[in-house]
Symmetry: C2
Subunit: 202 residues, 2 copies
Amino acid sequence: MLLIPKILLLLAIVLFPWAGAPQNAPAQSSAPVYTTDGQLRLPEDYRNWIYLTSGFDMSYSANERTGEHHQFDNVFVNPESYKAFLATGTWPDKTMLVLEVREGQSKGSINQKGNFQTGVAGVEVHVKDARFPGNWAFFGFDGAVKASKMIPTSASCYSCHEAHAAVDTTFVQFYPTLLPIAKSKGTFSAAYQKEIAADAAK
Amino acid sequence: MLLIPKILLLLAIVLFPWAGAPQNAPAQSSAPVYTTDGQLRLPEDYRNWIYLTSGFDMSYSANERTGEHHQFDNVFVNPESYKAFLATGTWPDKTMLVLEVREGQSKGSINQKGNFQTGVAGVEVHVKDARFPGNWAFFGFDGAVKASKMIPTSASCYSCHEAHAAVDTTFVQFYPTLLPIAKSKGTFSAAYQKEIAADAAK
């Protein structure tokens, strides 16, 4: 039973209207937002989220030719889910992983070799939400699109993430700050444990 | 004069110990911290800051050979200074830009081509602080070093940033989210304006 007179609580709330909010609350909640017809709204502030990693011209096929065209993939996750991952080694409901694809450019200003990032070529969002069968869904945002329908579960992204991703259908094996946490928490998927065992046996 | 009885204020503070902190305060202040002998302490939570960009094997020399060894540069800035840049197109005092160098790896898990990021090869910090002549100073952190002496101003990083960087000795021309802001605020350095003009004349 609470021993605090209600009037004091009310007064405290009037005096300190932010009381009750978590101390380090982000500027805004990062839970997924859907349109009435079930499309995901692009979380436009994702660049203020936690950065996980960048890949350069990554490909699952050794024969893919990129030629002179290069791309970076930057991955961000909403801060609340990142915090949860640090504590548990896996993702809570309402997690959003954003993959931002940016064009690479080699010659520019004083740069002569290698690549730096320029414009956005596309954005993909991987959402964990109990509203989806299998809990996870992918959404693609091209151009100026601000809301997008779920990519059908027949798409290869679902089966590939299911078959190869290290933790809960996400490619934590490529996220250098999260990989040791998943390892220490023992949250690797069965598929990824098999992959590690096979590599170790080589 | 405050009309609130002190006892209520005290009670409110006891009930809501976080009251009084700004609502969206970052987890901790990101101002530079120095040892008594003037070394900069590594800002260990820089991965929770704002991500600016990543480069891949960037080099200012066309002849540099990287062979099979690849590196990523990830750049982060403290959130308060990022906010100030959005508003002004330049950096306030106490800005810290962190350059995290990570090794690239090509074959690993299902990746066959391109590169993903693995371990940290080094960290460099570029600090704006009125305590330094020229306002800016560089610091290098290798291995497990947690505090570092300022790199002497005779080092080439100072002269190169001075001669080529787009905004206030920082390479904003390689930070795709900040470049349009600097352009619209008119904060390009004289050197960078010359470079743009020379490129346009080609």
